[in-house]
Structure formats: structure tokens, C-alpha cells
Symmetry: C2
Subunit: 199 residues, 2 copies
Amino acid sequence: MNYPNALEDLILHFMKYPGIGRKTAERYALHTLGKIDQEDLDDFAKVLASVKSRIGKCSVCGHLTDSDPCSICSDNNRDKETILVVESPKDVFAIEKLGKYRGGYHVLHGAISPVDGVGPDDLNLKSLWTRLANEPIKEVIIATSATQEGETTAMYIHRVIAATDVLVTRIGYGMPVGGNLEYADDKTLAKALEYRRKF
Amino acid sequence: MNYPNALEDLILHFMKYPGIGRKTAERYALHTLGKIDQEDLDDFAKVLASVKSRIGKCSVCGHLTDSDPCSICSDNNRDKETILVVESPKDVFAIEKLGKYRGGYHVLHGAISPVDGVGPDDLNLKSLWTRLANEPIKEVIIATSATQEGETTAMYIHRVIAATDVLVTRIGYGMPVGGNLEYADDKTLAKALEYRRKF
């Protein structure tokens, strides 16, 4: 071990992030020491230590939020008749960035995966059924990913809702198969929304 | 602003690091929230806030250290007759990783650059003259970078030491011109040490 303890510790913490190897982590640790002032580091430290307690899940849609219900659920200017179902909060951030969708969301926090032992009960689904019973929802757009798990989840939701008057659609055209929503470019995401089809 | 405040703050802090853009920072912020446990975050936060006070400069060689003198200067198994002069602590880490050099170091913390108003007095040089007067030094290997500033600094140090019995050498072969020591591969660094020439 070549680095002083505090630097080595910093390096190891940076290496816990996806795509950060030893060399990059060393660069970040030295950057921390030499280029970022103490006030910024104190603030960074405070946010790191508190972020988990400051951010929770919206009791309505399951999205990440620092107020409950979240700003999307409590926005009366949004279309209350449409719900977009996604696997993860990252997907909501990606679609919101696009700025073209004005309905609500429902975040499942996962997808059905028998191999990994993830069944419908492990997802944020019960609150979706409650919303369908109590809110004036006319369309549920399923935007789970185009993977085996995402398709299984879409199918499951469709089967449950099929018996009701609610229109169930699935985004489709434009999304590369096996790709993740969060990495799609704006145009692909817009196409996927535009070309959704009835289940 | 799409993200809850705590996440947005985290994103902005990650964006202060070299090469981290908005999209990568968003990924790291969500990774922090979802994939790193609270204990690790508390420790990461503690190290970030304390690293500047825990790491100082060695009073002998100027290298970054959490003890004074640093572990290299206080290691009696190292060759006390050779000093390798570098611009930055990163260079020491890079050469130590190589594991082939057994002498001491002297870290200048910069290079002479008239354009930027950096003169010899702004570098960690006075302590180098003191070491030359008091330690049994026979060779000073100058490993400043192959840039205008690095060459000027090498020349300046050579001019000062030339009048003494100390051998002044300059690493050379293998280092790409304009390149930084810290990004050189092991072989290039080894060659540069092996092929050093008398000033």
C-alpha cells in the first residue's frame, strides 16, 4: 500500500461506483485533496451521509422524492387519466427530462424474475391496483424494459387490467431490444411514446 | 430541475471531478442512494471531510503523508544517496507503484512557469538545497515532465547544483514529449529510469 491511509480509504470508496477502476479512483482521491475546497467537501460529505434519509418513495407512485406525495403526483396540471409504468426511478427521470409526457407514473422498483426469486408481490403493484380502483385512470402505458423480465412484467400487468375498461398500451417502436430506458436518446424515447400500441 | 434536492446536490458534487459529466453524475447519485449501504456512506463522508486535515506535506521531501517525515524518508532500507525530483505527489505514487526505484524523492509541487507567475521561490526548492548540504546525496535524478515548464525547472536545478560534486541526471528515453508521468505505463517509466543521462 503506496498511499497514505486517508487517500487509500478515499480510493476504495470511489471504486465502489460503477465503471470506476483503481487508476480513476486514485485520480479522484488526489483531485479531492488538491482541487476541491474544504467547504465543498463538508457539504459533499453531509449530502452523502444524509441522502438515504432525505429521499424516500412516494406513497402514491413509488417514485423517489423528498416530499410525499411526490411533485409529479401532487401536480394538478398533469393529466390524471394516464399512468406510465416503469421499472425504476431512473426511467422517470429520463422521461421527465424529455419534457413531452404530462401524465403520471407508477414505479415498480424491479421486474418479475422467477430466476432471481422476484414475483409480483415483490414489486410495487398493490398500490397500482388501488390507484386503478380509486383514480380516474383511462390508460396505463407499460414502459418496462424490452428484456425477458420486462416483458413478463408487462404481460402480468396486462392480464390483471384486461378485465377492466382501462386501455393498456405498451411502448415499443424505437427502443433497442435489451436496452435500458435510461440510456435511450431523446428521439428514441419520444418515438417509443408516440408509437405505443394497444396490448 | 427534475431530481429531488438531495440527489441534485449529489449530482453537482460528482460533477466537480474531472471527466464526470451530468449523465455519469446522475448515475453515481442514484448508485449512492440505491446500492451503497448507510455505514459505507457515513465512512465515505467522514473521509471526504477529513482528508485535507489528515494529509500534509512531508517536511523533508514535500510528498503527501499522514506522518512526518513520510514513510519513504523515514525508511532506513532505502538508498539515501539518490534523490528523484518530481513536480507532483502523483509522480511519486506512479514510480513507487513500479517498485524499481529505491532512493528518496523531492516533490516540487509545481514547475517554473513565468507565464503563470511561478518562479523558483514558489516551488519546494529551498529544502532541496538544505538536503544537498546536509544529507549524503551523490545523485539527483530530475524527473520533471518533458514540457516547457518541466525543462525550465530541470535546467534551473541543474544550474544550481552544477557547481557541487553531486551528479545531476535527467530521466529521458521512453517518456513521450508533453506527456505526464502519472499516465506513463510501467515499461516506459522503467526505461526512463534506466536510460537517464548525465546533465
